[in-house]
Symmetry: D2
Subunit: 363 residues, 4 copies
């Protein structure tokens, strides 16, 4: 019940604070016989790592993963996979000034309300650094999915009000390839350039921007998702809303569905060589909480980075009076580009779990 585990059959438990010894994850329930190496996991961690470009935080973390258990001769054995990344470049003293001054938009006050104590250094467990464990575990899930022909990939769709114009019919591999070409992870290179400029302007103003990312999974077989409470869309919503800074989750037509008529929204069913298929995909690949076989399409709305250098009003807890703070330090002015690998990881974890759960659905 404790909140640091995710998944049922394919289940992960993450641990670690921003400025503690390190961060890590234990993956329990990964089937035996899966080829797995540190290189595969490292590849995903490198996509999440800070310091990748001028628009992201300058905190320098090599983030080398060590697999401590669960594999033998390069293959998973069915026992728990423990992965560890040491914290190296943690400058805790930068946070001393914030000890008694909760930052607006952060979890400082709420951790204190819940636990009575908190590790104030760098946000502790509420830091984005916690997602290292998610991404490492997600890399294992992606390997499992790849064995079954499933690809999960994401990109930035909108950032600081700049919307990407995605070519209809582009396949997911092409979108991901385009997205990885620029620092904002947007497949539309023209929009990407505008986004970079918007970020620079915001940074100069001591401010930050929000955006929207889209995560897609292709190759998902029909039948995944367990009604009525462990539906695929429900589990995806929880997985994605539970990433820091996400304020909305959409599946398929999303919010727009509220403005459509049934005759537009319903995806017509057509005969096909491999059984019925859907003409359109407003459902986003899920009906009744179960995958249809069409691509799973999720979108997340990400709030602007709460750490900004402009003065903000808060309270000094030791004295109970109003004060202003300016948050210095090495913060990304936008979250979406680095949230993409995290969101992909979460989607992959949900799919891997449900893929294994599907096996118990029939005698």
């Amino acid at each position: 019940m404790a909140g640091n585990s995710f998944g049922t059959v394919f289940r992960i438990t993450t641990w670690g604070e921003s400025h503690g010894s390190g961060v890590g994850v234990v993956v329990d329930g990964c089937p035996a016989g899966l080829a797995l190496s540190e290189e595969v996991v490292q590849g995903e961690l490198d996509r999440r790592r800070p310091g990748q470009s001028s628009i992201s935080t300058q905190r320098k973390e090599e983030d080398r993963v060590e697999i401590l258990s669960g594999t033998f001769d390069g293959v998973t054995t069915g026992t728990p996979i423990s992965m560890l990344v040491w914290n190296r470049d943690a400058k805790s003293s930068a946070y001393d000034a914030l000890r008694d001054r909760p930052r607006p938009g952060h979890a400082d006050l709420t951790y204190l309300a819940r636990y009575g104590v908190r590790d104030h250094r760098g946000g502790g467990r509420a830091s984005a650094r916690e997602t290292v464990g998610r991404v490492a575990a997600g890399a294992v899930a992606k390997r499992l999915l790849a064995e079954r022909g499933i690809l999960v990939a994401g990109y930035v769709l909108e950032l600081g009000g700049v919307r990407a114009d995605l070519l209809e019919g582009l396949d997911l591999s092409a979108l991901r390839e385009g997205a990885e070409k620029n620092p904002v992870r947007c497949p539309d290179q023209i929009a990407a350039a505008k986004m970079v400029r918007a970020i620079e302007a915001a940074r100069e103003a001591g401010d930050s921007l929000g955006g929207i990312a889209e995560i897609v999974a292709v190759g998902v077989p029909p039948g995944l998702g367990e009604p009525v409470f462990d539906k695929l869309d429900g589990d995806l919503a929880r997985a994605l809303m539970g990433i820091g800074a996400v304020k909305a989750v959409e599946i398929g037509a999303g919010v727009e569905a509220a403005r459509m008529r049934g005759s537009d929204m319903n995806d017509p069913i057509l005969p096909g060589p491999e059984g019925p298929r859907f003409e359109t995909n407003n459902a986003g690949g899920i009906l009744g909480g179960i995958s249809t076989g069409a691509p799973i399409v999720c979108r997340i709305a990400v709030k602007p980075t709460p750490s900004i250098s402009r003065p903000q009003r808060t309270v000094d807890l030791s004295r109970g009076e109003a004060v202003e703070i300016e948050i210095k330090g090495r913060h990304d002015p936008v979250i979406p580009p680095r949230i993409v690998p995290v969101a992909e990881a979460m989607v992959a974890l949900v799919l891997a779990d449900h893929l294994l759960r599907l096996r118990a659905a029939r005698i």
Copy 2:
């Protein structure tokens, strides 16, 4: 792991199909000593019941709840509370024509993909009738929350493109009172009248409409929600996205957060007589996955009713060829008014669970 249970400490398990013997729920983990009667549960079921007005389905179900266990002398005993509602007005023959013809926008094909068999009568377990158990359990959760001064209430914010204009500063009880005055459950009576007209026009066209509902909880103490995977917003997103027809979930500023700057989005922290409080509530009452003490604000985007009488394209599974179907029967042309009590129930269940979980957070 099986998907028909929800919650951890306060945990429910629902059962029943649209056209089986009945529907019900077992509530496990409700604390002992809570006053509970069938009348309290019935009151919530009456709000969900079909046939309440001209705009909802004409299926007539009295939906009388029986509490079979878990109370003694009008008080809960800590043992499981089993509640049962018999199915009375189920006209199964109406569905014979649909046995081999999956309805667009419905879960017919996906249940078949998952289980290999399905109860085709009225959608079986994927029917809205399944929510009877959720609402009954939610009534118990609401009782528990009321003991702690927490009120959960919802209303329709938008329907068929008509948006309500809610007076700033109206309190939740007033909003709920206004909403219960009209068949669309919209607190803005003028908008409500327009919504009714839009529904009638859609129905005449053999079509259906979508909409947006907002659920708010006030009186929630700070500290609810268990990082990093059982966050309050994550659990709410799962609870709400898992209701049939919901395609998006927003918390606080929601999708709009993606277009804001950090300096606008961050809610300033002010000193207050009972400790720090927030000037605004873009966070929707949740930071870092933990409640702040401000009202919890959730919105759901609801797709138009998939059952429409206009001809739709589908496939006859027995012959594998394209056919057209027209869905006759007693269907609501809009879902939001009747989804409100269901969504309230889900929010109440999440809050009750986390309220009990909070007790283990400190020594």
Copy 3:
């Protein structure tokens, strides 16, 4: 987390008190496609039912089961199976005298300590009547196991100090057949007759007797059980110790293992036509928490019925002073004969769950 559910993939939730409206169970996670009828379930309930013979309680309960959901056309659909048995012959007034006088050996005081309130009628939820739901669910599990060639059966090995002499090499079907021929469920007919006499003598003395039952499962494939905390023997121990009146659980050689030498205890491994097999079965079919393919052998030590008519010392809670009570009513003077179907059900539930979990062990 609430305690009235059992199992993970194949998961049951029981509800109901001895003197409430009824008792029941929801089975969630039973695979679709399993043939299931009320008759199959009824057959198991009849074995558990009171009033079967002169040595068991004279409470007359027909115990007719109703399957309310989860099947269609005689086959499971993958949705929850809700089963209900109404309480008919509950004489609550017999318990009025016990309201303030906790019975020694019963859970009266402990329920009060935990919940602050309790349903004193007939032991409420702590009554043996609660096991109706377990047996009904176990019947479903047994059906699933039977599809895979697995048989679970039990019998009484010792009662009131009389030990059965079981012929070496008798197969499980023969043992079960012998056991069902007499009211004490002992396959050794001579021992059975002595047991009946011992019971009659104890009853005349206003006293009760304990005993030992053995439950065996044959046909279990190797590989069931999930190290290191959901081991098959651990889960069986929990399932069996959690039945009221059980004070010890043994697997294979059990307590005797403590007095053996390694060279005797270790079962030699021999080559066989279908792979390695074991010469002996001191392990009871489980090594490292995983089934070996040999028969699973469990034994439970059952305490004497706590309800006896001889005077016993207790306390009147309303006055806080010592009193004597004599428990009248319709109580079995021994528990083992009627515990056998319950213990079989629990073993079947554990095996069904692990059978489904095994599917996720390899890619």
Copy 4:
């Protein structure tokens, strides 16, 4: 659902193999505000460590624990506590000869049956080394229990047929103190000397011995345990039976209860200054699955160490033919002395979990 986690509110996940990089545990759900240091954990690990005396394995492991997360300023923060012990003295080559020759009494064949692959070095995950994580987590649980005045302690009651004679009325602290004075952990020093001689004789014969350990918890408040499936005795049975080599678990009178009469077994209830109390404790401190307030008394029967140097019959898997093996290496000839801290840890984990769960039992 994956099997390497234990507990619900106070929940641990262990990882690591005998000859991998290390072993460890993540404790999730430990309340914030508990004083915790590496020294406290180390103290428990030292009791479990190999090489403590002439009768235990000569493998030399310093077993230094590192706490990587979850504490700040010497106090738990409510976030996951990750603990790690590196493997140092692992001589894997000693196991090369056993790669294709499954050891009788070990889990070699069953891991292979379940997972298709296995890490054969030192038993992999099935090694006693896996219990390092349990003992480390148990140390945290013991700290939590100590705050509430609960002491958990164990000792060896019988070994190689030698039974300890424990003075009636000795308190638990005195028993534990006596037990820690000798290498067999038996509070009866005369019996302890005999046990040591029996061990030496068995070792000379290339054989091993079994025994019985008793674990007692005092200071446990009434009300712990969640009927009807998460009963305290059921959870203890699972926790203890799930330790390698345990073949039987008894609570209170245990197996002897089967031979008692109700009038002897039932513990009379007496008035007391702090409410009703029990004259005797045949129940072992648990009635109806809920603690009574009397000491919790559990016993485990432990089989002889399966690794013996005498020749044993097994099968060479690569050739499918019968062979003899002699297991060389550094093995304890008896398990009970070193199982005591492990069993204490498991009991402490169960109690800590139920202590936190008790908080949700009443409004």
